[in-house]
């Protein structure tokens, strides 16, 4: 994670890698504000199904988006272990519920390719690219598409 300034070239991006179901996802760290665990999520009835609920983020109310739901994956068996990646978008804090945050890596631009139309059954619009790691492929999230309010 400790990288020299030289690596921050145009073609290198810092990605937070986390697991959603079977799929490793990446998110540009410039979005990420913090990662929280073990917080009480208050359910919001009648909300869109991908909204898991709301949390108290130091006095502010943040909406929590369930990525599994968003990607139409099966719900997680052990909710308690899930973590929330808090991103800030248009002056609003939004939590993204993921299975597990794994790592932060520097991704070389040449290893990033445009996304196919469909990744493990999930529609490709949610991704802005695929980062090829040594052993696996990481789907880089398109945060704007992901957090669209849909109306």
């Amino acid at each position: 994670m400790q990288q020299s300034a030289g690596k921050t070239s145009q073609n290198t991006r810092e990605l937070a890698i986390f697991q959603v179901g079977e799929m490793p996802c990446g998110l540009d760290t410039s979005w990420v504000r913090e990662i929280i665990k073990n917080t009480q999520i208050t359910k919001v009835h009648l909300a869109p199904d991908y909204v898991r609920g709301v949390i108290n983020l130091r006095g502010e109310i943040a909406t929590v988006i369930d990525l599994r739901k968003k990607f139409s994956l099966a719900p997680c068996e052990d909710d308690g272990k899930m973590e929330i990646v808090v991103v800030r978008r248009s002056s609003e804090n939004i939590g993204i519920l993921v299975d597990q945050v794994r790592d932060v890596v520097w991704a070389d631009g040449k290893n990033i390719t445009p996304p196919p139309s469909n990744i493990s059954g999930v529609t490709g619009v949610f991704f802005e690219g695929i980062y090829k790691m040594e052993r696996e492929l990481v789907a880089i999230l398109n945060i704007d598409e992901l957090l669209k309010t849909g109306d």
């Binding site: 009835h45 009648l46 909300a47 709301v54 949390i55 108290n56 006095g59 109310i61 909406t63 957090l147």
Partner: protein, 1083 residues
Amino acid sequence: MPLIDDDETLLAFVEESKEHLDGIEADLLAIEEAGANIDADIVNKVFRAVHSLKGGAGFLGLDKVKELAHASENLMNLIRNGELVPTPSIVSTLLDATDLLGKMISNAAASNDVDISAHITALQKAVSANLNDEEKPTLENTVALGTADQPDIFSISEFELNAATKGGNNLFILEYDLIADIEQQGKTPLAVIRELQQTGQLIDSRVDIASVGDLTADIATMRIPFFALFATIMELDLLTGFLGIDSAKVHAVNTVEVLSCAKQGKGEQAAPPTQPEQAPSTAQSTPIQSGPAPKQPADAPSTPPPDALSTGEISGQMTHEESTAKPATGKAAPPSAPKEGLQLKAETNLRVSVKILDNLMTLAGELVLTRNQLVQAVASRNQQGVDNVSQRLNLVTSELQEAIMSTRMQPIGNIFNKFKRVVRDLSRDLGKEVNLIIEGEEVELDKTIIEAIGDPLTHLVRNSVDHGIEVPAICLQNNKPPTGLLRLSAFHEGGQVIIEIEDDGAGINTDKLKVKVLEMGLYDRVQLESMSAKELNKLIFTPGLSTAKVVTDVSGRGVGMDVVHTNLSKLGGVIDIASSLGLGTTITIKLPLTLAIIPSLIVTCQQERFAIPQVNLVELVRVPAGQVKERIEKIGDALVIRLRGELLPLVHLREALGIKNPVYLDPASREIKDERRVNLSDPRGGEKGGSTPAADETTLQQAEFIEKRQGGDRRVNPMSAYNILVLASGDFHYGLIVDQLLDSEEIVVKPLGSHLRNCKCYAGATIQGDGRVALILDVVGISAQMKLNMVADKVKAQMLQIKDEKAGMEDSQSLLIVMNGPGEQMAIPLGLVSRIERIKNADITVTAGRRNIQYRGGSLALFGVEEVASVGMREQSAEACYVVVFPMAGREVGITVSEIVDILDAKLKIDDVTHKQPGILGSMIIFDRITLLVDLYGVVAGIMPEWALIKSQADAGEDKKFNILIVEDSRFFMNQIENFVVEAGYKAFTAEDGVEALQVLNEEQIHLVLTDIEMPNMDGLELTRNIRRDSRWSSLPVIAVTSVAGEAAEQNGRQAGVDEYLIKLDREQIIEKIHFYLKNKQR
């Protein structure tokens, strides 16, 4: 030159200017109203305000602002001197200029790029229109004035020069040195300016910053020349003595010469001939002093002279006082590019009084102290200390909250005063005359509310002027004064702010509305017929509706009123309309004081907590399990509850939120589990006392069995008590069924994220004491979600039907249900009860065989039903009991009971035979139990007969036997009333309904009528109307006796002509009133 690079100075200027401009607008309107009767004070005020604006703008290099302000000032000067009558068109020109000034100032950085030529021309035209042809060119001719050293310090128009020297004024240029003459003398420039203005007219002033020199110059020789162009009646020698300045610094200006020269030059920048064309500059100043010199002056002001006044200080004060300090360099400023970061938004700043800030400081100090104490107390594990601190913390926090809230409060006058202009412009456009009266400007509301109600209020005001107020011709036709009245008022009432918009115009034509609504197919004729006048008026909030014949650009496009309604509802406001055709309309808006922190009730549903704003909460109703079946009904698919004779639509919060899998909290494991059944306990087994799980199990099985057998829906099954919140959603009420009521809390409202915007059921969220988030329910949203307004309509239809059916049936009576002896249920007519008190049995003292209790400084005699009637004894073992207090024979007496069960409205089917005995009027069935109706008077009379003696007719000093007609359809009440009327010495006649009563009236000589309201064939109101219509009985006293007294009902009665409205079983009152009316004979 560019702007002074000082955000703070500019900011202060902008803030101050806005205040000035607001004032100017209001004052201009006042000037217009006064017309030729010019109020010198107001005109002067406006003049000075514009002048300050001009000064400040000049100082900051806002040239265009200065120029426009200057042109306005010229025009105002004429008004001030009485040379010009402020006609509406002149005032309009000035208002337009003021508007533009406001716009330019809010975006000060770009103000120099604004095209103001049109406004300048208009202003100049207004000025020149008043001048004769000879004077006109003087407006355009500019004259340069200066001293021998500096020939062109000032440049003013010839017109101004003429104006200044009018009346024998002499013109001087005064030369001050800000350092030597002012600063070192302990004066301030402002004081000097004020001094000058007292003795004459300060036409212009400038600080010659260009001649300041730089920091390398010798401090001793540094000087900041400050020139003032001054017109006064004083002579030179007098002036120097008066002002106490060196005569060498006072330069007389020979205006005649100047002017003649100016005429020669025909408006060119001609220097006075007495001065050399290029005078050598003073030794101390730098040579650059005039002409376009964009480079140098740019940094001059940003490096202010070290010991001169800072620029910030000057501009900060100048808008308060009249200051004309104006830098010379302003003249040559090229338009500066708008700077980012200087884009100012007024609403980002708030004025807070120093007093409030001081208070906040003190409280913050308190808070720190409290924290220290808390830390100490916790460290030393001093429980007592912690308790004290927590109490203190509670106190400080609430005070702090209050103080912070008060910083957000703003007077509503801020928006009210804007309407003067709106109304003026609009009435001019529409050819109407409107007298706008504003009341309660000082009423304060939260900033956010003030901002949010601006638009809806504007719309309502425009609407009132457009649709309400009539044109003068029509006013006269309708016998009204030609000037319409529009009253805007605000006041506090019950923790809310009420805003009223009242006009004396045409009123709402409900017939037209009906036609329109029918056309649009929103309601059918039957529905419209059943609507009250209030409801009809409210139709104007229907989307897409407009009754205006012609669509104007003001209103009448059918958009707006519904938006007004929605926007106000969003703020938690309630809007009401009262209107009478031809007389006017009053719109009443009720608003909460603040939105940020609201008192609310915390409830739970399925173990989740929700907050409900108290402002929406009307009452809480708990329907015990045993009554669920009889009080909660179904109309179509909708649940309704009977509440005091009304039907209220009901909704389960669980259903409203679409919770599909009910859960419950397992009492043993404290875990939340999926619930298989709707409710757990079976209350029919007795509401009280915890039943063992085993017992629960069996009753559950029974219940299930019953359910299966009946095949009915589970809702009707009385499975558990219902907690119902009666909520006000706009104009109708509904009940929300929740699982549990927790607590009343003040909550801080936090907005929900963008993904949840579409969830109309929530008004936001709040963070609870334990850090968890609770959602705030939107009462209006829920009713919309569940389409409750449709249910409400259905309910209303049902009510009408019920009312029809009910005609001729027994009245319902409000009863207090109590327990006295074990298992013996009794009822007391609620209308007779003053209070219910809980007392300790130990506090009861027995004196002379009678029970008493110390009560409110005196003693209250206590009676028990069991002392008179043969009923079960009250349980004496209990610690406390209840006392039902009621008035009797001029004093208060109490009846002891062991338990209060409920208050309910019951239709009385009284059996007055079976259980009739002293102290008991009769019996009825309530909650499937025989319930004894207590005769409060009978109980007391049984023990203290002398207290209960009815003042007979003879005691009241009457000799003649009076005839009283009692009209009552219930046999029970008829007997009761007849008994005590006869006992009081009157002759009683009876009738069972209005028709019969009229017959009796025809046949007998009746002196007074006592009538029930609800009766078959002809009800009491109709009877009263008939009586009043007949000239024979027009002065016959009519007393209505009823079981449920409500203000509305009472008003209806009074309208019909009833003299008195009394409670049926309150015989003391009834007898007293009978005495009263018969004694006074005429009503």
